[in-house]
Amino acid sequence: MSTLHIFSKPISYYDNARIANLIQSDDKVLLVSDACFSIALYRQLAAKLLVLTEDASARNVIISQPDEGLDYTDFVALTLSTTQSITW
């Protein structure tokens, strides 16, 4: 029972304080598109962030520990290993 939370914009686009309250410790947070620019600012939402690798590299962003880069195969698998997804 865990939720996949997908973000596609820098965190300033969201009401992050409110959303942070809806993310549980076993939930997954995936950053795609322009959300990749500000990985550090997303740390408040999860200890480990999942990042779509090709979106990050197109933006000249390096993914480092404890975060993890995913390809599309991983992205599909992630939607199946979580109970439901929310695209914020």
Binding site: S8, S33, Y72, T73, F75, V76, T79, L80, S85, T87
Partner: protein, 117 residues
């Protein structure tokens, strides 16, 4: 193997979301999953406009839809959302015009619904 429905909520000018939806859909199929429908909702309905014709250095949006269509994926344009947004639904090319009810039924039977925006 799982059954997916996907929905697209942003306009064709959001090229980045469009290419992500396409790649996700392709990856689903490659892993043997099925996609019961891709649904154009909210600003996504403008993807069914007949005139999308971008320069050669831009994302080839029409080709992406054509390819998903050739994979046999049901590409559904929400008639309610389209009419509210002034879209001419007479000539939706690779898209099928349908009501929300049809989509909701497909969504209820699917294992996963992933939104793209």
């Amino acid at each position: 193997m799982a059954r997916f429905v996907l929905s697209l909520h942003s306009a064709p000018s959001d090229h980045d979301t469009t290419q992500r939806l396409y790649k996700f859909a392709t990856a689903c199929l490659q892993q043997g999953h099925s996609i019961d429908a891709i649904f154009l909702y909210q600003q996504g309905v403008y993807h069914a406009s007949e005139s999308i014709n971008l320069a050669t250095d831009e994302l080839a949006i029409n080709s992406l839809w054509q390819e998903l269509h050739q994979h046999g994926i049901n590409l559904i344009l929400c008639v309610t959302a389209a009419e509210k947004r002034g879209l001419n639904i007479a000539t939706p090319n690779v898209f099928t015009v349908a009501g929300l009810a049809e989509f909701a039924m497909l969504a209820s039977e699917a294992d996963k619904w992933v939104q793209f925006k």
